[in-house]
């Protein structure tokens, strides 16, 4: 048998080999930026999920005698709005609505966009059909779509999520399609085919896992975009219905008295910004951690 050549850049013999999942977790834990983003997200999720118990006040309860209390007022740490509603409590419940819409919308775009993207990239003949469909959706104004959907099915959080999800499908299809086109020309896909793999197997085991990082990045870009989209729709009255709070409706309400009580607009605005930033940071770190080729820090 041949003399084995030495392996460069490999783990030296004797070092315990870790599983993929443990490696990803370890990489995340060793990245301070990722930890910060993760912490912000965790706090946001806890606040949103347990808002019923954590919120100091009922978010819809008005306290007219305490209207326009500035931040720091005892009992109202982030102040109150024009009707004396507690801004902190409303942000907690607003976070719940925003996260709810964002997760639904992105899940919707994933469920529809990823399979269509894979099919368009892998099977030549249907590519033109799917690609023209994405062009059509892209050309259609998002707000008209949302207004139309609200007119047919009524304005609600769920319909806002569907509208945002539809708007995000073309981007997802295009990203997945181009990645599929790139991957299917690589030798390991040809190698899988000559080993007897069928189309479904190649797509599920060879193309999808390798496209995972771009899908994750696209999804994490989609979540903050969906949060902003929800804010826009609620601002226009097409999303969540008053008096229930969302970060978007809080902004829209606060603009009427922005000079008198700027905190009522600034606080939900900061919440949107932090949430968006945290999602972007976590998405980037996750992509780096999932890449088996990335060198260890």
């Amino acid at each position: 048998m041949a003399v084995p050549e030495t392996v460069s850049g490999a783990v030296p013999a004797g070092v315990p080999v870790r599983s993929n999942r443990r490696r990803v977790v370890r990489r995340i834990l060793h990245n301070p930026l990722a930890l910060t983003g993760l912490a912000v997200l965790t706090i946001a999720v806890i606040l949103a999920v347990f808002a019923n118990w954590l919120a100091p006040h009922d978010p819809t309860q008005t306290h007219l005698s305490n209207a326009f209390s500035p931040p720091g007022t005892a009992g109202y740490w982030l102040g109150t709005d024009d009707l004396g509603r507690d801004v902190l409590s409303r942000i907690m419940f607003g976070l719940r609505a925003s996260l709810h819409v964002a997760v639904l919308a992105v899940a919707f775009s994933l469920v529809i966009g990823v399979p269509l993207g894979l099919i368009a990239g892998y099977f030549g003949p249907v590519d033109a059909l799917i690609s023209r469909f994405t062009d059509l959706v892209l050309a259609f104004p998002f707000l008209i779509l949302a207004v139309g959907l609200a007119a047919i099915r009524g304005a609600s959080l769920g319909n806002a999520a569907i509208a945002i999800g539809i708007a995000q499908i073309p981007g997802m299809i295009r990203i997945v399609r181009s990645e599929t086109l790139r991957l299917k020309s690589l030798d390991f896909v040809a190698a899988a085919i000559v080993e007897g793999a069928g189309d479904a197997w190649v797509l599920a085991r060879h193309i999808l896992p390798n496209a995972g990082s771009v899908i994750i990045v696209q999804a994490t870009v989609g979540i903050p975009a969906a949060i902003l989209g929800e804010a826009v729709l609620s601002f226009l009255g097409l999303g969540i219905q008053p008096p229930a709070p969302s970060l978007g409706t809080m902004l829209s309400d606060a603009q009427q008295f922005a000079s008198r009580a700027p905190w009522a607009a600034v606080m939900p605005g900061v919440a949107i910004m932090l949430l968006t930033l945290a999602f972007n940071i976590v998405g980037d770190s996750l992509r780096d951690a999932l890449d088996p080729k990335a060198s260890r820090r």
Binding site: M1, A2, V3, P4, E5, T6, V7, S8, G9, A10, V11, A13, V17, N20, G124, L186, D187, F188, A190, A191, A192, I193, V194, E195, G196, A197, G198, W201, R205, H206, P209, N210, G212, P292, K293
Partner: protein, 325 residues
């Protein structure tokens, strides 16, 4: 010897914007049980297209005519089901580029076990044990630890060994190696050739070796088919071909490759003038005529056919005298 793989009058044409291009023209090859057949020629001679058509890997723009039989089963025009049952089990492939031939997101052990589990139906543990055996067979040290490595943690030579391990996992009858050593260092090439030789001896695998490296041919092959511009121009047993090349193109190839014992000061390597012709409809002429020092009128007006016998050559004016190797 009954051939395991028999290629008869295989033609491959591509539909392009410039019309039909003929990449392979009525190629016939035979590979016996446990035999190593080398297919040699310059770049653009149709070697890789021939290899790809054996596994049905050609793009949709290609038209394939002729017959490829593996142990009596016709592969050209076979339905997807038949092809899938043959691929991996009966005929396996090794690609030229080891850096991209492995899936980067799974460990090498996982990739080998997956082939074993889907084709042979081994359970997880048996597949894992067999994967370690296979990696040991192809000369990977401490294979029990290496199976947990990702492809990027291995060097090019190691990856090529893993590719070979995966290709022979299901004990295929025929292994098609498309320039398996081209992308590797010379020292590592020798190791890979040792692995292929070992496989042939231990498992009795027939090998179709596609290469342009005559050193590799001399090292491993039993028989050689020389291709030029989509046609087989000469085929012979390896020692016979090296000692007594008949086609001027073969003689040119041998003259252009350095050999031990010949010194640069006294022996300038000869070259073949010109380039492989652009693929087109095959003319009724010898395709090598333009570059051939022995060409006469008949070469440009009529296409020579392969002579019968053990040493076959397609040439109007074959080289008769033996050439120093």
């Amino acid at each position: 010897m009954k051939p395991v793989l028999q290629v008869k009058d295989l033609s491959v044409t591509f539909r392009t914007e410039d019309g039909m291009l003929s990449a392979v023209d009525r190629v016939s090859l035979e590979v016996g049980d446990g035999e190593v057949l080398a297919v040699v020629g310059e770049s653009g001679c149709g070697k890789s297209v021939t290899a790809m058509s054996l596994a049905g890997l050609l793009p949709r723009t290609a038209t394939v005519d002729g017959s490829v039989t593996l142990d009596g089963t016709e592969l050209i025009g076979a339905d997807k089901r038949t092809l899938r049952s043959i691929r991996g089990r009966e005929v396996a492939y090794i690609f030229q580029e080891p850096m991209t031939s492995l899936n980067p997101v799974f460990t090498v052990g996982h990739q080998i076990s997956e082939v074993l589990r889907t084709h042979i139906g081994l359970d997880r543990q048996a597949a894992q044990a067999r994967a370690i055996e296979l990696l040991t067979l192809v000369g990977i040290p401490s294979a029990d630890r290496r199976i947990n490595d990702y492809p990027h943690q291995l060097s090019g030579g190691m990856r090529q060994r893993v590719m070979i391990a995966m290709a022979v996992a299901c004990d295929p009858k025929v292994l098609i190696a498309d320039e398996p050593t081209t992308a590797l260092d010379v020292t590592i090439q020798a190791g890979i050739l040792d692995v292929l030789r070992e496989l042939r001896e231990r498992l009795g695998t027939s090998i179709v070796l596609i290469t342009h490296d005559l050193g590799v041919v001399a090292d491993l092959a039993d028989r050689v088919a020389v291709m030029y511009a989509g046609r087989v121009v000469e085929t012979a047993e390896v020692h016979e071909l090296f000692a007594n090349p008949q086609h001027p193109y073969t003689a040119g190839l041998l003259g252009a490759s350095p050999a031990a014992g010949r010194h640069a000061e006294t022996h300038r390597l000869s070259e073949i003038p010109g380039l492989v012709p652009v693929l087109a409809e095959q003319p009724d002429a010898c395709t090598f005529a333009d570059r051939c020092p022995r060409a006469t009128e008949v070469c440009t007006s009529s296409q020579p056919e392969l002579t019968p016998g053990a040493h076959r050559v397609a040439c109007w004016h074959p080289v008769r005298e033996s050439v120093e190797v």
